[in-house]
């Protein structure tokens, strides 16, 4: 039971992460892969504050979120001047650069990471308590993002995403809206990082590599980019499947390629059959497919 609860805590943390990533990439249309680095900033900040200053966990986690927000604004102000592919490259550079910094500082534990993060909740109720906290924050995140994107501000966000030129022509400042969306998304990722650090009591740079950007992107795409519940479904499926596979007790020779095959097959199936993801409506699939087609043929014509 404890094991399942642990997995559910992990799922809740990833729901927070993928939902916030969806806000940035799905609703805001900001093609960034650097989401794990804000998760890392949250995790490292709260871990270090917890170890060296013994601050209460809640304050550490909030401080972690603040650092993630500040870093995201710094990145946004410089990188969001460029858009599309350039933003993608800038964000990748930011992630790799910062990871190198973390790997080479002694106080961050170098490549080995930090292991002695204080245990804030003790006793048999530890995991259920974390489940309540993480689950609550995950629900709050999903609700908050739904509130943002379904309100007037959300319409402004999607309008900016879909047609930036027209949006600017209406007198709205696209840059401000981009920075705000980016900062909210990254700040929430920072909270997820803090929760992870205190629950698992260990963080290392390996956990925030580009591979994890890919995993997060898969969660969002599989669930349905630009939908409220999509990232939730994506996180549940992508965390639960690898765990379930270990129970099949397959020999390592079979087990080894299994996860890769399952993920690749899933992504390819979804690309062809449900480009709008599990949660995205079928009718919009067709539309999305058509616009994608139009865009690609337009691209060729250009």
């Amino acid at each position: 039971m404890e094991y399942i609860l642990t997995i559910v805590v992990l799922i809740a943390i990833f729901v927070i992460l993928s939902s916030s990533y969806n806000l940035v990439i799905g609703y805001g249309g900001l093609a960034t892969v650097a989401h794990p680095i804000f998760y890392a900033l949250g995790a490292y900040t709260s871990a270090l504050l917890g170890i060296h200053f013994g601050l209460p966990a809640a304050i550490c986690v909030l401080a972690g979120a603040l650092v993630a927000v500040v870093a995201s604004i710094l990145l946004a102000l410089s990188a969001l001047r460029v858009a599309g592919d350039y933003l993608l490259i800038a964000s990748l550079g930011f992630q790799l650069g910062l990871l190198q910094v973390i790997k080479n500082f002694e106080f961050t534990g170098g490549p080995g990471g930090i292991s002695a993060i204080p245990n804030t909740i003790t006793g048999p109720w530890r995991t259920p308590a974390y489940l309540l906290i993480c689950g609550g924050i995950a629900a709050l995140t999903v609700w908050l993002i739904a509130r943002i994107v379904h309100g007037p501000y959300g319409r402004a966000i999607t309008a900016m995403r879909d047609e930036e030129l027209a949006f600017s022509a209406l007198g709205r400042n696209a840059m401000t809206i981009k920075v705000v969306v980016f900062a909210i998304g990254c700040g929430i990722a920072g909270i997820a990082g803090g929760l992870y650090a205190f629950y698992f009591q260990y963080v290392s740079p390996d956990q925030f590599e580009v591979l994890h950007s890919a995993a997060m992107l898969t969660m969002v795409v599989l669930g349905g980019m630009g939908t409220t519940m999509g990232p939730v479904v994506g996180a549940v499926v992508l965390i639960a499947i690898p765990q379930a596979i270990t129970f099949l007790n397959l020999p390592p020779a079979v087990m080894a390629p299994m996860q890769g095959i399952i993920f690749t097959t899933l992504v390819m199936l979804f690309l062809f059959l449900r480009p709008a993801g599990l949660v995205g409506p079928l009718s919009r699939d067709r539309m999305a497919g058509r616009t994608a087609l139009e865009k690609s043929s337009g691209g060729v014509a250009e």
Binding site: E2, Y3, V237, A244, F247
Partner: protein, 391 residues
């Protein structure tokens, strides 16, 4: 109307069944455990896939041989031993997940693990859940300070690396060393140990360079080394990168003698490097075929069953012995009519303290470290030949 609703229903049903399947599988596992309470469970977390899988899988083969020997001899107090092996890909987060499963689902009181980053990641969980975590192959000196439930059966880097650095100065007469190391837990701490000991002995470290674990091009670093003109080069890396470093050294005209640690003690390295491997020095923390009569037998059996050389024989000797040691802990606990838990197993480890390990000789558990003799080997005509035994 009806057909329009179908997709929603199907999707929902699909999701429900997927969720049910995901939840049901672990439940089946735990029920199976409740029914067969007999075997004594040993959790094992090793990289079975990914870049370290070559070692990880051979480690497990070594463990399974010990398991078979123990079970063929009747198990412990009539109860068979069982290994539950999970993959970590040598990744910390997967190590934590695997550990959680072993503790909460399989209820293993003891977990054998390796790879420094993984051990570090698992340590908080071991201490919190009071499960005995035994390191069987990682050597970061930090492992000695990871908490009251984390012990090592494998000597940490300060044992063999300090012996090697001292030998390099005293016996080989080298005065200026270059230290190149892989920038992760394996390299950083060990390189520091080498540097400290070599300098304390009287030598000088003229170049001290780290390289990325995924690097394949080392000329920049090696040109710096050439400029510093050392008379010995110590490369502290893994089997995936050390041969590349040596090959590129020779291409750049660096002819200095090279040393590494036990990860380099592998026939594959000689096969890859050919004549460039001559005079290469490695450490080994396990006796070779000439020092222990059980080793040739083990090697013979391995070749018969696997049809090839093992990856990193000394390490595998430790894996075989780790299962033997764990079996002794179970025996001690059961003889005392106690239930095997992390706490009783830990008490047993501290009570027995000295183990007569079949493949690696006497093991003395000294707090959170172990004491072992160090063997040095050097490549001569394409073969590893004993160079020295240091106590």
């Amino acid at each position: 109307m009806h057909t329009k609703r179908m997709p929603t229903l199907n999707r929902r049903r699909f999701l429900q069944s997927a969720a049910a399947a995901g939840l049901a599988v672990p439940l089946v596992g735990s029920r199976a455990w409740a029914q067969s309470k007999d075997p004594l469970k040993i959790g094992v977390t090793m990289p079975l896939t990914g870049s370290q899988a070559g070692y990880g899988n051979d480690f497990v083969i070594g463990m399974r041989q010990a398991l078979k020997d123990l079970n063929d001899a009747g198990g412990i107090a009539g109860r068979p031993l069982e290994l539950i092996v999970l993959d970590t890909q040598a990744e910390p987060s997967l190590g934590i997940n695997a550990m959680n499963r072993l503790i909460n689902v399989d209820k293993a009181p003891v977990i054998l693990t390796a790879w420094s980053a993984v051990v570090k990641a698992q340590a908080p969980t071991a201490n919190r859940e009071k499960v005995l975590l035994l390191n069987t192959g990682a050597n970061a000196p930090e492992i000695a300070h990871l908490g009251e439930f984390v012990y090592t059966l494998f000597p940490l880097a300060d044992v063999d690396i300090s012996a090697l650095a001292k030998y390099t100065y005293d016996k080989l007469g080298k005065r200026k060393a270059a230290v190149l190391y892989i920038n992760n837990d394996t390299g950083i701490d060990a390189a520091k140990v080498y540097k400290d000991v070599f300098e304390k002995t009287g030598g000088q470290v003229v170049a001290y360079e780290a390289y990325d674990p995924r690097a394949t091009e080392f000329s920049g670093m090696l040109l710096k080394v050439r400029a510093a003109s050392p008379d010995m080069v110590h490369v502290h890396g893994l089997l995936t990168d050390v041969p590349m470093v040596i090959a590129q050294m020779r291409q750049l005209g660096l002819q200095q003698r090279v040393s590494s640690y036990s990860a380099g003690y592998n026939q594959k390295l000689i096969d890859q490097l050919g004549p460039a491997a001559e005079d290469f020095i490695v450490t080994s923390l396990a006796p070779g075929a000439d020092d222990n009569p059980n080793v040739p037998q083990f090697l013979e059996r391995w070749k018969k069953e696997q049809n090839r050389h093992p990856n990193g024989l000394p390490y595998i000797q430790y894996q075989y012995d780790s299962v033997q040691t764990t079996a002794q802990l179970f025996k001690h606990v059961l003889e005392k009519k106690q239930e095997p838990t992390g706490e009783t197993m830990r008490a047993a480890l501290l009570a027995i303290k000295e183990f007569d390990s079949p493949l690696t000789g006497k093991t003395v558990v000294d707090g959170h470290r172990v004491r072992k003799p160090v063997f040095l080997l050097s490549v001569e005509k394409g073969q590893f030949k004993p160079l020295a035994k240091l106590d």
